[in-house]
Symmetry: C2
Subunit: 136 residues, 2 copies
DNA sequence: TTCTAGTTTAGAATTATTATAAACTAGAAA
DNA sequence: TTTCTAGTTTATAATAATTCTAAACTAGAA
């Protein structure tokens, strides 16, 4: 139960009140050894399976947004229908499987961009992470 | 008016009946000297401004889908909210301006990927086009 | 313990897209 | 040329993801 306190402190440092909903969601997201890629739908299912305490869908949305603003999560733009999120906030690349619709991490140094165009004047590159679409 | 016949023939070779709606949309999309990047919303506005003959939104959607299947258009996955389409069907890269929400072509040889990871076994790379997000 | 700003929630609203089914039409066949 | 029908268009409904609203709740400062 020290973990709960750790999470609570982390949230407080970001100006987020450590509510029981946020702590439960944070546990689900960050208490794991490898990267977790998810959509609101998959996170909601994981949190709200019967037997466990329920959290409203609106709170799932609100909390994911709050965690993104706090820098705990990153959004991965890969699909036109659905938002994907990533607990790995470092800069890195992805495989996106068009069949299973799942993301897999690619280490940043596994992709080498030896030539990158200069952006139009007045604009700068915000993000250069590659999504490689794969299929069977 | 020979143009109309050319478009009609092109459509027929793809098994698409050259209706007046499809011909008008094709004219708007392909009768231009540079790449056109658009969303359903922008195409719909361009087609259906007052004074011109109207085409229903459903037909805009249907026609864009038909043109993609025929290989006349390509879909660019860049935003989570909205589909983007491209009259440039060759393999190439893009800048996506997060401010104006507009795509710009990058020639294929302006980006050099000197290292690309091997996809998971049983999977192959479907597409490796880079979207570089830019902003002010 | 009290108080209030921040948070959660159910449900409504919005946006992009897809489905439905009736009316219309291109063009093959008569 | 006329007839016929599969393909197409259209208004509208339905769906899916997300955002908004406003009332009830609560963390934690005072
Ligand atoms: Mn959508
Ligand atoms: Mn959306
Ligand atoms: Zn990742
Ligand atoms: Zn393009």
């Amino acid at each position: 139960m020290n973990q709960k306190k750790e999470i609570a402190n982390k949230l407080r440092t970001s100006g987020l009140r450590p509510t029981k909903q946020r702590i439960l969601i944070a546990k689900n997201l960050f208490d794991r050894n490898k990267t977790f890629h998810f959509t609101i739908e998959t996170l909601n299912k994981k949190i709200n399976r019967k037997g466990k305490e329920q959290i409203s869908l609106a709170t799932i949305y609100n909390t994911v947004e709050a965690f993104i603003n706090a820098g705990y999560l990153k959004e991965i733009l890969t699909s036109k229908n659905k938002s994907y999120y990533d607990t790995n906030i470092r800069s890195h690349h992805h495989f996106y499987d068009e069949g299973s619709k799942e993301l897999t991490d690619i280490n940043y140094n596994q992709v080498k961009l030896s030539k990158v165009p200069i952006p139009p004047k007045g604009k700068k590159i915000k993000n250069l992470e590659v999504v490689i679409r794969i299929q069977k």
